[in-house]
């Protein structure tokens, strides 16, 4: 999957899970702020991402990642 495809799939997944309009989400958006994700939802999102993209995402590699684009890049790096 190319980076743009990962990014698109990530935005679709996050929008569906958190009831947002995917067309309104941008790659550089802060996904936690934009979607209002709390600590518990963030943990569940990691599981969703691991299942969807068939990767392992150690929590410590996700620290500091805020945007959809950065998260998509991290997922790609693990594939």
């Amino acid at each position: 999957m190319k980076h743009d495809d990962t990014l698109s799939a990530l935005i679709q997944l996050a929008a569906k899970r958190f009831g947002a309009d995917a067309s309104q989400l941008r790659p550089e958006d802060d996904l936690f702020e934009r979607l209002g994700i709390d600590s518990f939802q963030a943990v569940e999102l990691i599981s969703d991402l691991e299942d969807k993209f068939d990767v392992e995402l150690p929590d410590y590699e996700l620290q500091g990642i805020k945007t959809f684009a950065a998260l998509a890049a991290r997922i790609d790096a693990r594939r």
């Binding site: 936690f32 994700i37 709390d38 600590s39 518990f40 963030a42 943990v43 569940e44 990691i46 599981s47 969703d48 691991e50 299942d51 392992e56 150690p58 929590d59 410590y60 996700l62 620290q63």
Partner: protein, 257 residues
């Protein structure tokens, strides 16, 4: 906070203490109340969370911090030891109950919550479940008997990974390494546990109890060793500083390891 039902030999113990079933003195007292009345003729105990957020986020760090702030430093060790001794007693009794115990896990299953889950004979994980030992972030090791219990079930490599990285693992990986018995879709954990309880009801009670006693022993020496290590580390400055950071944090995601 903690509630349970008992019907046809099956206890269903429901944890429902927001934000995510943190284990402090109130939860401990609830578990003690439950254990004091368990009918030895029951055949199954199902432990689950009634909260959306997850199974259990671990020890009640806010209560621990407040408790330590309220007393002089030279009394910290006694305070911590008192709580750890009480929680070990509860966890050991849950572990050794003469009935089949099933943990139903979803969402966060961290620290002390993971240790509570590990007292169960079998774990049913909904897909959202994540398991984690974040204790090193606090300058301590898991103190509720988690590591000795986990050593009964999985390889040392996975334990080192969990303990020394502090990362969380999902239901799929936990299932792959034998930590979890079954994975089910979100919201289906209780139904799967009830089906398993119905299966357990079919077995001869003497044989069922003997089978559990045969295969599941309490790792007493390691539990005692862990308790001492925990109390020693908990007296260091790292724990108090980490608790202060946690309590004062305005981060929306303080639980992330």
């Amino acid at each position: 906070m903690i509630d349970w039902t008992y019907e046809a030999g099956v206890y269903e113990l429901v944890l429902a203490a927001p934000p995510c079933n943190e284990i402090g003195t109130t939860m401990l007292a609830g578990l003690q109340r439950f254990l004091a009345q368990v009918d030895p003729d029951a055949h199954t105990l199902v432990i689950r969370s009634g909260l959306r957020q997850g199974f259990c986020a671990g020890a009640d760090l806010r209560e621990l911090y407040r408790g330590l702030c309220d007393i002089p430093q030279d009394q910290h060790a006694a305070q911590i030891r008192g709580f750890i001794d009480a929680i070990h007693d509860v966890m050991d009794r849950l572990d050794m109950l003469p009935l089949t115990t099933i943990g139903v896990v979803h969402g966060v299953c961290f620290g002390g919550g993971f240790e509570l889950a590990l007292t169960c004979d079998m774990l049913i994980a909904e897909k959202s479940a994540r398991f984690c030992f974040p204790e090193l972030r606090l300058g301590i090791v898991p103190g509720f008997g988690g590591i000795p219990r986990l050593r009964r079930d999985v390889g040392n490599g996975l334990i080192r990974d969990l303990l020394l990285s502090g990362r969380s693992i999902g239901a799929k990986k936990a299932h792959g390494c034998g930590l979890v018995s079954q994975i089910v879709a979100g919201g289906e954990g209780l139904a799967a546990a009830r089906a398993l309880a119905a299966q357990s009801a079919k077995f001869d009670p003497v044989a069922r109890k003997a089978a559990k006693a045969f295969i599941k022993k309490l790792p007493r020496e390691e539990l005692a060793e862990e308790r001492e290590l925990f109390v020693r580390l908990a007296q260091g400055p790292a724990l108090f500083a980490a608790l202060k950071r946690f309590v004062e944090s305005t981060d929306l995601r303080p639980y992330l390891p």
